[in-house]
Symmetry: C2
């Protein structure tokens, strides 16, 4: 099991369309084989800052996500809305021992 | 529902005892009324960097966590092991709509 935490800051006028596009990506991602979680969060302090909390059963399942049509559509849709390049940070899981 | 993401960097020689103390905190926290998640993660790039992903049903439930004996014991136990002050970032949840 692996987690990738993605930090995203979008341009202020892109907040609403970014949320819409990312909900579509979320809705499809949670149906992927191997997906454990795909939480979509918005900073309480800065509404232009978002976090994706993506958990997969394996590195391979995480890589497969990046080949799906919903991910590729999302990536292309949001590209011009980034305030700065987004950052993905990989984590290993200490607890919980079981996720689903 | 609210999420707090806590970033923690510990001194290199404190990694093992920090993990042990935080597992105890995790094991008790997930039994709290109002807790939805308390994930304990370790950076794949830097083993001295950890993340707690704490989800609660309400702000009040999150505040109650900080009054529990297991939290207060953890806070005291790990105090001298911090490499820098830990940082808690509050998030609102866009998706999923249901957590449990």
């Amino acid at each position: 099991m692996v987690v990738t935490v993605v930090h995203i800051q979008v341009k202020p006028d892109a907040i609403a369309p970014f949320i819409e596009a990312t909900i579509k990506n979320h809705d499809a991602a949670v149906k992927e084989k191997g997906n454990l979680r795909f939480d979509f969060l918005q900073s309480s302090d800065d509404p232009s800052c978002f976090m994706l909390y993506e958990a997969y059963e394996s590195d391979e399942a995480g890589r497969d996500h990046k080949t799906t049509s919903h991910y590729l559509t999302w990536k292309k849709t949001v590209a011009d809305w980034m305030q700065k390049p987004r950052e993905g940070i990989p984590y290993s899981i200490i607890r919980p021992l079981k996720w689903k």
